[in-house]
């Protein structure tokens, strides 16, 4: 009977698996190094109790909250500026193109620490600021540490985002623009509906890196007295002199924030590679499920 023959499963292949000697060697090296490091830390003059205590201390927690707030807002400003400047530079209009080029040249060419100081001290340059239709105000009142930090970090970020967005726009096949034009779409519409969504695949991964960078770079805002995590730690250790303990508390918070957003980045990238790859990267949950399924089958 042919039908029974086709039902029996093919014989499983049995083979000796490849041995990965390199992995064993590297594991031993790493174990030795970790041991040495732990030994050094036990002899270091650090009070871990204090680090733990200040990790949940209200001033530090509030500082971490401000770090998150300024990073999100500055990154948002950077993304918005980056998209505008990238579109300006690829528009074919020589005036907007030159403005966009100058923006990137200037803000990428000077240190962000310097830019923060310039924004914070703007009052020396322009004592009063006037907003058309809204009246005027003293610059020192407007340029609070928060505003200076936001402008300094956000505008600087815009220059980097502009390059990332531009690379994204250039990565989209020209045929896409042509097909959209042939359907009667205007430039703005085809950018928004056709080109940008496809550029996202190229834009999102480096933007995630930029944001994780921003979480750390925002510590520079301590120079303009914005009360983020590092300034909060500094404010405490100048009083109690437990410098290392507080720096470690802050470091732990930075690690928490960057870890959380690295996970977010994974899911975001996955979402935007839809339609471009057939095999999406597995989420950790899917991996666990697959492993369970495999072990069940093996039994």
């Amino acid at each position: 009977m042919t039908s029974t023959a086709s039902v029996t499963a093919p014989e499983r292949l049995v083979a000796v698996p490849v041995r990965y000697w390199g992995r064993w060697v590297s594991a031993v090296v790493v174990l030795v190094l970790v041991g040495l490091f732990l030994y050094a830390m036990t002899r270091a003059d650090v009070n871990w109790q204090t680090t733990r205590h200040f990790f949940t201390f209200p001033t530090i927690v509030r500082g971490a909250g401000r770090t998150l707030l300024i990073s999100v807002l500055a990154q948002a400003l950077g993304i918005a500026l980056g998209v505008v400047v990238a579109v300006m530079r690829s528009s074919g209009n020589p005036v907007t193109g030159a403005v966009g080029w100058f923006y990137v040249w200037f803000f990428r060419g000077t240190p962000v620490l310097l830019q923060l100081l310039v924004w914070f001290n703007l009052a020396f340059l322009f004592p009063t600021l006037s907003f058309p239709g809204l009246g005027s105000a003293k610059t020192s009142d407007v340029m609070t540490p928060f505003v200076a930090a936001l402008l300094g970090l956000g505008i600087n970020e815009g220059a980097y985002m502009a390059e990332i967005v531009r690379a994204g726009l250039n990565s989209v096949d020209e045929g896409q623009t042509e097909a959209a034009q042939a359907l009667g779409m205007s430039r703005g519409l085809l950018l928004r509906r056709i080109v940008l969504p496809q550029a996202m695949r190229v834009i999102v991964p480096p933007t995630g890196n930029e944001f994780i960078n921003m979480l750390k770079t925002s510590s520079l805002a301590s120079i303009v007295q914005y009360g983020e995590l590092l300034l909060a730690a500094q404010a405490i250790y100048t009083n109690n002199l437990q410098i290392m303990e507080l720096l470690f508390s802050a470091a732990l918070w930075y690690l928490v924030l960057t870890s959380v957003f690295s996970i977010g980045q994974f899911y975001l990238e996955r979402r935007f590679s839809r339609g471009a790859t057939r095999n999406l990267a597995l989420t950790p949950l899917q991996r666990v499920r697959l492993a369970l399924l495999r072990s069940e089958r093996a039994r």
């Binding site: 045929g175 097909a179 959209a180 034009q181 042939a182 359907l183 009667g184 509906r193 839809r274 339609g275």
Partner: protein, 254 residues
Amino acid sequence: MSAPMVHAEKVHKSFGKVEVLKGIDLTVELGEVCCLLGPSGSGKSTFLRCINHLEKVDAGRLSVDGELVGYRQSGEKLYELKEKETSSKRAEIGMVFQRFNLFPHMTALGNIVEAPIRVKGLGKAEAAERARALLDRVGLSDKVDAYPAQLSGGQQQRVAIARALAMQPKLMLFDEPTSALDPELVGEVLDVMRGLAADGMTMLVVTHEMGFARDVGDTVVFMDGGVVVESGAPHDVINNPQQERTRAFLGKVL
């Protein structure tokens, strides 16, 4: 008698110093299928792109449905069209590309309804209904929710034709619509195009499919080196070419 759908008189086009079109004369009447043949680099694509305002004509006159392409005439003077005017003219001309150019982040249905909704302002429900009818017409009613990457080349090209038809164009331009396809998929696309021709669509088709040109074309135009070398009824041009260059080209492709 109405104006011809496409009318070209001594159309010139250069890219920098290279003159690609050197005085094209060509007419496509309403409801006619015109097949454009010619060797690679002869300027066929460039000419189609000029008709659809994707390139600007340098000299000569090119009109679609009695209206000048790219310019507006007022008295003796010509004015360049604004972006908006160009877009609305393009919306009336359908174009199908060699490499399909479907939008990969949208489903088949999404590809088709995009322009009718966003450009023409059609309601979502009505656009979707029309799109389904069009997918049915090109034989893909079961692929409504498929993404381009999940479709074969022939299926993608048929979706691309449906996408162009959704704008209810008065003229369809095809730029080698089957040359990126595996041989066994060519037929399904040509069948759709045959159906279109039978329904009276005005079509300008760049193709190397001699069978299609012979059966479906009302006229065949042979281009070489940026000029029209020979044109006429398919039977005459393909079976009995008068020019040496036409004979040489046909000898290679037939």
